[in-house]
Symmetry: C2
Subunit: 153 residues, 2 copies
DNA sequence: TTTAGTGCAAAGGCTTTGCAGATGT
DNA sequence: ACATCTGCAAAGCCTTTGCACTAAA
């Protein structure tokens, strides 16, 4: 079955917040008000966001938060399993929420740059087989299909 | 059918050279001895190579060739269809010969970083279907499977 | 000759880090 | 109090560019 995911499901903020606290506690780290602001801004961004974009969106209400802090916390979120880092083509590194957000692949429009999330179980299964046929233990994967989107075709 | 490509087929140097000359001629560009040296070094490198690695390998015999020239010519080769740029994970940009080298996907070992090239027709077909089901015209794609290779499992 | 290519060094763009001061615990 | 986190600025790292010079055509 092919599933097309056009936009994010609502992210469970309290669960994400809890996961982050847990990770922070386990690793002898501390909480901070900035971290919560960044987490909240990231989860409500609702798209594949760059560090700059997130920084800018936070700057509006919290101009005291620095770029490095945003960057460091984004990395922390990746480590704690809340966020995923995606690098597509020559574009900047982007981040997306991982929690309550199933694995998916990306359709990338070469004209307008639109990112659409898609998923196909059959492909997932074949990918695992392909890896195993080469004595490889697959753990995760990344599929990007480049072309022209509905609007640009 | 699953095809596992462990290493490069022999690259046809004269054909690549010809293609490059053609591209150069069409675009009102000129030839240069450096370009031929870089092309030759690139084609005989026989692996996914970074600009630095290529630069270093050329430096041995031709220390007068600059980094920028290697970089510029690598880009030129991409534009002329001889090379492909690949960006995997957080690693540096790598380049690989495209000519006489079929489309393939990559298995990336998370432990040792080994890159293995693989291909599966069925996946290719499903990918096109997946894209089309979303009104998308697929043109090319990139699949990377991360995990543990034979040696590291 | 004319103009693209080269080599050097410097500038860009993004990511990461050092450090002094602020802040959780 | 003590170690982490923050904010700033500076450093890194890789890629790209400006410019005077070299060399194809």
């Amino acid at each position: 079955m092919i599933t097309i995911i056009m936009s994010y499901e609502k992210i469970d903020m309290s669960k994400a917040s809890e996961m982050l606290r847990e990770y922070v506690a386990k690793n002898g780290m501390r909480n901070s008000s900035q971290r919560e602001i960044i987490l909240s801004a990231f989860l409500s961004a609702g798209k594949h966001i760059t560090v700059d974009e997130l920084f800018d969106s936070i700057k509006e209400k919290n101009p005291e938060i620095g770029y490095a802090t945003v960057h460091r916390n984004l990395r922390l979120m990746c480590n704690s399993g809340i966020a995923d880092e995606i690098k597509i083509g020559k574009g900047k590194t982007r981040f997306e929420p991982k929690l309550d957000h199933k694995h998916h692949d990306h359709l990338v429009c070469l004209k307008c740059g639109q990112l659409t999330e898609v998923n196909d179980e059959k492909i997932e299964i074949l990918q695992d087989k392909l890896a195993q046929a080469n004595g490889f233990i697959p753990m995760r994967h990344k599929l990007e299909i480049y072309g022209l989107c509905k609007k640009c075709r």
